[in-house]
Assembly symmetry: D2
Homo-oligomer: 432 residues x 4
Amino acid sequence: MSDRTTLLAQRLAAVRAQTLALAAPLSEADCQVQSMPDASPVKWHLAHTTWFFETFVLERFEPGFRPWHPAFRVLFNSYYQGVGDQHPRPQRGLVTRPALAEVKAWRASVDERLQALLAAPPPGQGDAIAALVELGLQHEQQHQELILADLLHLLSCNPLAPAYADAPPPAVHDAAPPGGWTRVDGGLAEIGHAGAGFAFDNETPRHRVYLRPCALADDLVTQGDWRAFMADGGYDDARWWLAAGWDWRQAQGIAAPLYWRRDGEGGWCRFTLRGLQPLDERAPVVHVSAYEADAYARWHGAQHGAPHRLPTEAEWEQAAQRAGTAAIDRARGVDAGALTPLPPSATLPAGPRQLFGEVWQWTASAYQAYPGFRAWDGAVGEYNAKFMVNQLVLRGGSCATPRSHLRTSYRNFFPPEARWQFSGLRLARDLD
Amino acid sequence: MSDRTTLLAQRLAAVRAQTLALAAPLSEADCQVQSMPDASPVKWHLAHTTWFFETFVLERFEPGFRPWHPAFRVLFNSYYQGVGDQHPRPQRGLVTRPALAEVKAWRASVDERLQALLAAPPPGQGDAIAALVELGLQHEQQHQELILADLLHLLSCNPLAPAYADAPPPAVHDAAPPGGWTRVDGGLAEIGHAGAGFAFDNETPRHRVYLRPCALADDLVTQGDWRAFMADGGYDDARWWLAAGWDWRQAQGIAAPLYWRRDGEGGWCRFTLRGLQPLDERAPVVHVSAYEADAYARWHGAQHGAPHRLPTEAEWEQAAQRAGTAAIDRARGVDAGALTPLPPSATLPAGPRQLFGEVWQWTASAYQAYPGFRAWDGAVGEYNAKFMVNQLVLRGGSCATPRSHLRTSYRNFFPPEARWQFSGLRLARDLD
Amino acid sequence: MSDRTTLLAQRLAAVRAQTLALAAPLSEADCQVQSMPDASPVKWHLAHTTWFFETFVLERFEPGFRPWHPAFRVLFNSYYQGVGDQHPRPQRGLVTRPALAEVKAWRASVDERLQALLAAPPPGQGDAIAALVELGLQHEQQHQELILADLLHLLSCNPLAPAYADAPPPAVHDAAPPGGWTRVDGGLAEIGHAGAGFAFDNETPRHRVYLRPCALADDLVTQGDWRAFMADGGYDDARWWLAAGWDWRQAQGIAAPLYWRRDGEGGWCRFTLRGLQPLDERAPVVHVSAYEADAYARWHGAQHGAPHRLPTEAEWEQAAQRAGTAAIDRARGVDAGALTPLPPSATLPAGPRQLFGEVWQWTASAYQAYPGFRAWDGAVGEYNAKFMVNQLVLRGGSCATPRSHLRTSYRNFFPPEARWQFSGLRLARDLD
Amino acid sequence: MSDRTTLLAQRLAAVRAQTLALAAPLSEADCQVQSMPDASPVKWHLAHTTWFFETFVLERFEPGFRPWHPAFRVLFNSYYQGVGDQHPRPQRGLVTRPALAEVKAWRASVDERLQALLAAPPPGQGDAIAALVELGLQHEQQHQELILADLLHLLSCNPLAPAYADAPPPAVHDAAPPGGWTRVDGGLAEIGHAGAGFAFDNETPRHRVYLRPCALADDLVTQGDWRAFMADGGYDDARWWLAAGWDWRQAQGIAAPLYWRRDGEGGWCRFTLRGLQPLDERAPVVHVSAYEADAYARWHGAQHGAPHRLPTEAEWEQAAQRAGTAAIDRARGVDAGALTPLPPSATLPAGPRQLFGEVWQWTASAYQAYPGFRAWDGAVGEYNAKFMVNQLVLRGGSCATPRSHLRTSYRNFFPPEARWQFSGLRLARDLD
């Protein structure tokens, strides 16, 4: 095996093990239930990520391939029309058989066969196999984050408010004082992925954009900030809201971030993977929709006599390019184990803080193709391209994202009303 | 303990054990999931039946009562407004904690305390306790049937078609030839419960009704009969259908009984608790709605040049009174273990066969109060009375009903579109 | 022409003219709009009643029949599957052409041809024609009431609260003091239609029923009574409500009769065909559902320490048989022109008052076939029979019913949640 | 009056008269009905455009202003939260009073008072008044197009297929042969409005964008092109569709453009303002959603071995800038009276044809704020800004757009599933 292949094989083992580790504290029942159509059962995530390797790697490259179970090809296909039919998404939670134990056995079998294939690929196919295994790992890491987000939603539906992890979040003893704004220059700039290293097709091609000068807030909007917005009636004043956001807020009776609850003493607490917790005034707000983020920005600008807004993804990426890979190295991500966003440390360098690995940051940018974009060939071309409408881009990664999955050019995307992801915001304003 | 109390204590142990026995073949995941709002998870049934005893017996009569868990009083309340709030029915399946093991521990604890209470009731309260324990047992037996009906629905949602029990249904080697009609006399008659023995409040008071003479079919409508109805286009001809039934059939695309599926060779098979099975031409059809039953009757009459219809509950009960308790003694019920209706045996006496314990038989009677009806006092008065609108009465009990739960005056009730119960039909026609 | 035919021809002219008279105060826009799927545009009523005569009389009996417009046969068919397709009910209001003027021209043409046919029927068909014309007249009178009910709903959707008729309702200066209860004997009784005179198929056959003795309230429940129910929290106490009624009340936020509105001074007023009017404490409450009526009865009984309920239709009809045709002759109906129910006059004889022609009285009886019922042959057999599920019987006729349309054996029926009809209630209680 | 004011006063009279002229062929019923929540009644359009002038001009500037009717301020407010409440959009069609005649009288009164105000404005307010009257005229022209689009939808709901105008569309005898592609250069470019002349706030500021070179199709996609797409199974192949588009297509059963119908001989015809018409193979396809447009482009590219797509709005605007104002002068728009798109004439110059005034052209661009965008101050700031999410930009204007309303920088916007507007498409492809 080449060094590169050895490394890939090691990462394969590690990433796959990490998925199981996330599910380890859960009962079979916890892994089974689907709490809403947008969320999926943990067991389904365990199966689907295995399906991805079986279907896109083993089925194509393994000599004498035979599927673990012929029905799983449809049962655990998420949305790849090019691979055939899919079990309906809202019914994922109804499939009590195969049992969790069988899914784990399937995982083990596929892992073993992947390792064998990496060790001895059919002649001339090593690179293609490695590329698809890499894609499968990136895919699996995305589902690691979804496991936590979907599980949090499920546990939140239980009036007993059970915790995924019992201990309270770690304290940040050296929290930084509030930051200011950092300039992003105008003029021609480049964004998008180029060069070596993995990227999804939607991050390419790297291309020029023309920017106006602007400033980005050094801090993410905090839970304390959000309380001020609520105290000022921000949820009840149509002036701050997009029309579709106002309709959504009215129809759903939205009056606080998802998982915020009255604490019984006139204040608020929040449900987290660590159970019910008090607000942390200095920690980033999380589980807000793009509608709420946008309304907050407009309200915040009005308090300060200047238009505030969400940054575009190009502006954000410029700031992230300047911050460099050190910003990713410093990021918490899921690896830090907090499972909820924390305040920034005073040890962080000047400029935008917590760009990575605390909360996904809603941008003002619709999720659309970059100029010159080409989707990948074949069924994996459905991975990203077919969702390029009615969604907004989020940047930066969250406390549920593996650190090795963070990337400056990474484009996450969700509909503007989505709140069950670990989504927050950072403000921007025009300079001139 | 009096003999009566000893007997009750024995029955309590037996009925409670039988509920657990029904759940024994199931995984924690099987017990967790709710496949539709009308159905409930098996774990919920295990918990709710325990809640019933804890709330209506222990809470009122046990000295020094303390609840197993204070939140369970709301969490496992089904619909008793008089006892307080209820966890929303469609969200029963989202409650992954308490775990199945804790629910079983709760069951054991409540069982033990009930036995202690029966053995040594507070002075003067023995009769009240015995009456409520009896009600709890009847209630538990109803949920035993619901466990099977709800589980069948859940398993039917799985494209792998998993079976609750692996073996095929037992063969009936002495199936009776088709029967004829049996007369029910007209004039003044009495129906309803009177005298000793348990009955629900909705079976009382026994009262007079004036009947026209009619005839009841000796046989339940069979799967073979139903195939003829389908082959003749019965589902596509509005003439046979009530307007609401036709709208339902159109909106839902109904074209066969629930759980019937194409067998891949132009015919039909059916999904049962024993997995996919071929049709049994001589066995009763099951899992049809009242709309389908009513349409079948009208179609059948038109084939024979005479109006056929469903019997009223008074007509059915007259026939059942005539058949006597021997008909119940001969009934299969869930005790026979077939888990699906079977053909009648040739050894059955003349007259209406399979009145009890094969399929619930839709009647033409709306579920309404008997003349002079009084609901039970207190919260248990919500058991039956508040559902007396937009439902139809079914009679006789099914292959999922405990034999000791069958009763001549028993009134089951469901909305006309319900199909997931073990519901079938028997025809009637006017005589004059 | 025979005397009977002459009379029929005169009634045909009068009834058809009365329909136009009801529409006379309305604009083309008023006649066009459908305010909800359950209601129909006035123009549609004018057209459909004409369609009924064209399809069931002229098409079958007129020599050389040609339809006014071939597309109208589908366009104005309400629900007769036996006659072919129907334009979808919720889209009746979208048909702006034919214009109102054309519908009126069609009416005039059909009227003229009906008169010609009555005057000179094809040999041997005079009786069949007369029977169908009679049916068409009864049908037209039903639609006269629907015109008023549907129009009231439409006008109620306009925030300007426009009136159909400007003047306030007539004052009743000799209102009777509150009445008591009148006994209905138990034992064998007969209800249903027999003998000469028109009746719908669902009123037949006359048949025996066995009754327990009961008492009927002399008065309809009044607006003042209803205020007391509301003041006592009747809408907020689940104890009084059927489960389906409570769900409906919760889902729809029901807290008062339909068309009751806050008067801006802490009280209530009501929207009527005569615009916004103050409550009339002594006048019958109207526009309540069966769920509300049933809850009121249960609440009222609890105030008086005895179970009160709605009467069955058999009990009601016994009382009406005793009151005799004089009660109908005294009834107001739409002919009195009040357009809203009024208090009873002190001149009325003892016993149940306002049995006829004030408000339709919800009964406790599900709308089902009488023993021995046979629907009419042919497509007109769809008139009543196919609706015999999930509806309740109302008796007596309302302030929007033509007096000549009132009948002791008349069975009106609506789903329990319907409120836009002129529906109210009268209480009953058991005697023994 | 200054010349500019005189001109404005003349345009005011002309535009307002044109709105009435559009409604002239319609009955009161035609003007009353709302066929779906997205569409509005013609009477509502007549009233709302009048409301706009009354509320934003007369109320603020007319000395001694008194509203025509105080309730109209809410009743005919569309969506301006800054002005107060709004009558619910889906209930616009239920308001049968005020009558059409009163709305017209209101229009006449407001027109007269606006003219008086223009002729003698309060000192120092002439410019503000002129600016708002100008905005009101632009607003009115938008509603002129909506009147035609909404009316077409209403008439399409009538199975009689009535025509707004009886004559068939004019024939184009000199239709051009199919065109090719025209290059749009890459590099820095400018788009957006600057300088004199009216523009909406969303067209500003003019700003730089960096473009890759691309080519735009000279022709709009035609009805003949679309037939080929359909014949090739374009609606049934998920490969061409965005995921949200495919879900929409499946849920709605979409298989052809809106208003296309089977012609009874295996082909298709289309419903237009001129009634049912045969397809015109050379005329632009119209009434397609962005989902369909996007799928067509992807399919078309696959037929030609190159990725085809919709143009971005910047690419489109570059081409339109090059075509110059002559392209607008040549445009048909609603002024040409065809009321449906027509084939291009052979007399048109080389390059992209029919950029203006045939069909609105879906672009690939999400409707978002231009860099540096500021919404107008006050309630009119709600005109465009609050809709900047989940919509796509359309460019060019249609056969229902007044020619004087066409503009190179004009940004129309609708959700991707909208089809009842006069929307079509033009293809683009990358060059490099």
